[in-house]
């Protein structure tokens, strides 16, 4: 759980070293790569196959294909890009519902519109048009990570449209940078940001509803 963000980015200068060590049979290097990269490989594979267990098989097959192809790797692309391509090939070889996955290239209706209910802001006739009607209620000082809070966040994440969920997971769970996610999903920085922002806003709103429900309706005496 420590060490977020695997070496997904360009990191081209290190490729030569990594490849040389792998070819020499350095198990530690292989284990480190498997631990650092399998996360995004699983998320990527998961876009094409029906279940997490199939995604795991795809990633295993991809690693085996990496080993098989290692002698032929000439460094024309970065090692990461090469592995990325192998994952896609393995996932597609499974031939499963390519159509499942909506391409990232363009945004969808689900990605448009305000992320906060417009009703919460004053209309044109208000004293402050576009200003909060009422400020968001305060959350507990230190949001304790109870099992319940954990479940609220996990459930909200699971309920996001697929592309928003993948972007939020890569950025906020796996700790990848914006540039890494753009490269991985072949998506523009602007679209990545839209998907990320919408996804986060939905999770925030779920937390807000949870804290509202929990706020004991005890009368506050001044």
């Amino acid at each position: 759980m420590t060490g977020k963000a695997g070496p997904v980015g360009g990191a081209a200068p290190e490729d030569d070293t990594l490849v040389a060590r792998l070819r020499a049979g350095d198990e530690q290097t292989f284990a480190a790569l498997v631990d650092g990269w399998s996360g995004w490989m699983l998320r990527l594979a998961g876009r094409y196959v029906p279940s997490p267990s199939v995604a795991e098989e795809v990633v295993q097959e991809a690693w085996l294909a990496v080993l098989q192809g290692l002698e032929k790797f000439r460094g024309e692309s970065s090692l990461r890009t090469w592995v990325h391509q192998i994952v896609l090939n393995q996932a597609r070889r499974r031939g499963v519902r390519e159509s499942r996955s909506v391409p990232f290239a363009s945004l969808l209706p689900e990605d448009a519109g305000p992320t906060v209910d417009p009703e919460r802001f004053q209309g044109r006739d208000g004293a402050h048009p576009g200003g909060w009607r009422r400020f968001p209620d305060e959350w507990p000082e230190q949001v304790a990570l109870t099992r319940e809070v954990h479940d609220v966040v996990a459930t909200a994440l699971a309920g996001l449209p697929e592309r928003q969920r993948v972007v939020v997971a890569l950025r906020d769970l796996d700790g990848h940078t914006s540039a890494e996610v753009c490269a991985l999903l072949e998506i523009s920085a602007a679209n990545q940001r839209v998907l990320l922002h919408r996804g986060r806003a939905v999770v925030r709103a779920a937390l807000e509803r949870y804290f509202d429900r929990r706020r004991t309706p005890v009368e506050v005496t001044s």
Binding site: W63, G175, R204
Partner: protein, 82 residues
């Protein structure tokens, strides 16, 4: 910048991808608006909470199998993994 506009720019603000003028307008708004300060804080808390969910990783058996395959591959270089 209104509150309604600000809430749509939070991720861009946190990512440092707003232009200079927008950052200034954002900061000036925050200085005057406790509601938006709170929204920003809650957004940050949300990101922190998301960060406590588990990262994707291989199951232990899958990882073990790969390390074994690597060891086998190392013993017979050129033949590929078993």
């Amino acid at each position: 910048m209104t509150c309604e506009e600000l809430v749509e720019l939070v991720t861009a603000y946190l990512d440092g991808s707003l232009g200079e003028g927008e950052v200034r307008a954002f900061d000036e708004h925050l200085a005057l608006c406790p509601g938006c300060v709170r929204y920003l804080e809650q957004f940050r808390s949300t990101i922190d909470l998301l960060g406590t969910l588990p990262q994707k990783s291989l199951t232990d058996p899958a990882r073990e199998q790969l390390l074994e395959a690597f060891a086998a591959w190392r013993r017979t270089p050129g033949d590929g993994p078993s």
